[in-house]
């Protein structure tokens, strides 16, 4: 429970929080000396050649990127591979970021592009329902827990069958709670197109779920 709380907290760190890592040291043993609270400072440090700063960048954003990739492919193995690809592309292309958009938006854009290019129109395998890690401990009723797990697996399997842009829009809206404006920026669409994609994604998701029932 404690580790879950810590992980939940880590996902809510705000840019304005002054977060430093007590006792943190670089690979050479020297203090990191990087302001962890500001993505812009991190980017500058990365461009100055600091591998430690890039490590911090990866640590800060890996969970969001992993969740994004998982939403596209529905299994941990592919999500891990895709996440690695995303950060590799980030490492290569960081110099193109300066001043153009926020780091977070840019990361999502790269993540979506990597996922779309790798996944394409193929339907990747999703996690088996029997995987015990999916059992939700919130419910005391085992039967209810199993039903919830099965429903979740059906929804994930249906999401990965959505057309690419609809899938991307739904994942970004539902599971990353990005605004339509942010999604439009990431996908290169208008806000109206994002909303239309979201509408059709929900409609198709409904049809896919009904077809499996």
């Amino acid at each position: 429970m404690l580790s879950r709380a810590v992980r939940a907290w880590a996902g809510t760190v705000q840019p304005e929080w002054k977060v430093t890592v007590a006792g943190a040291a670089s690979k050479t043993g020297a203090p990191l000396g990087v302001d962890l609270s500001d993505d812009e400072d991190l980017v500058q440090a990365c461009l100055a050649g600091s591998q430690d700063a890039f490590d911090v960048l990866v640590q800060r954003h890996r969970r969001a990127i992993y969740r994004l990739c998982y939403g596209f492919v529905g299994n941990h193995e592919d999500a891990s591979d895709l996440s690695q690809d995303v950060f590799l592309r980030v490492h290569r292309g960081l110099r193109r970021l300066k001043g153009k958009s926020s780091l977070s938006t840019w990361l999502y854009r790269i993540g979506v592009n990597v996922c779309l290019s790798r996944v394409g129109s193929k339907v990747p395998p999703t996690e088996p329902i029997q995987d015990d890690r999916h059992i939700d401990p919130r419910s005391d009723d085992p039967a209810e827990r199993v039903l919830r797990v099965e429903r979740a697996a059906r929804v994930r399997a249906a999401i990965v069958r959505l057309p690419e842009r609809q899938r991307a829009t739904l994942i970004l809206r539902m599971y990353h709670e990005l605004s339509h404006q942010e999604i439009a920026s990431i996908l290169g669409n208008s806000v109206g197109a994002v909303k239309a994609n979201f509408f059709h994604a929900l409609g198709n998701l409904k049809r896919l779920l009904e077809a499996r029932d």
Binding site: L47, G49, V58, F87, R95, R133, K195, L209
Partner: protein, 207 residues
Amino acid sequence: MKHLTPAQLVDLIEGVLPAERAAHVGACARCRQQADELRAVMCEAREVDVPEPSPLIWDHLSQRVRDACGAEPEVGSSGWVPSGSLSRLALAVTTVTVIVAVIVGGILVRSPTEEAAPGGDSVAALLAKLDLGLDGGDTEPDLFESFGEEPAWTLVMTVAQEMEWDDTDAAALVGPGASDRAVLELSPDARRELGRLLEAELAGEGG
């Protein structure tokens, strides 16, 4: 009766559709049913979360990224514009200017007895000759080979050697052969003007 558009239905289920438009749902069974269905699917999808992977996966992912990036050129090296690059950019601009100037100056040095072309502009005449050298030729003249040990060329080589090629490339100003192409591709009028400016500069520096 105008039904709600897909975008308006999304705004409706997200609670941001203006009241006067949202009122349509009260009178329209079709839009009401659509909105209810969308809400139900959203509710079901919202229950789904990414199953938590093994705690080891995070450090493993970071290590894989670190290893993959380690095999790549460093951030800030070739092709990257490092922070505080304004002085390097200025040096790149200066170097390009020097290279262009000395190409022309090298022509002057090689031909000290060249009579001035009509109009008294020897640089312009040399540039015009350069222009003639291009026309009808299959290959571009190799200016740098012909300069050899010319003092002016020695100067530009000294300056260039102090600057990393990657810095000029990172400034997106110079590519291989860019400086000589810059001169060779100038129009005759542009070359005459360049020659005039360079002559004035050289005369001003006593050169």
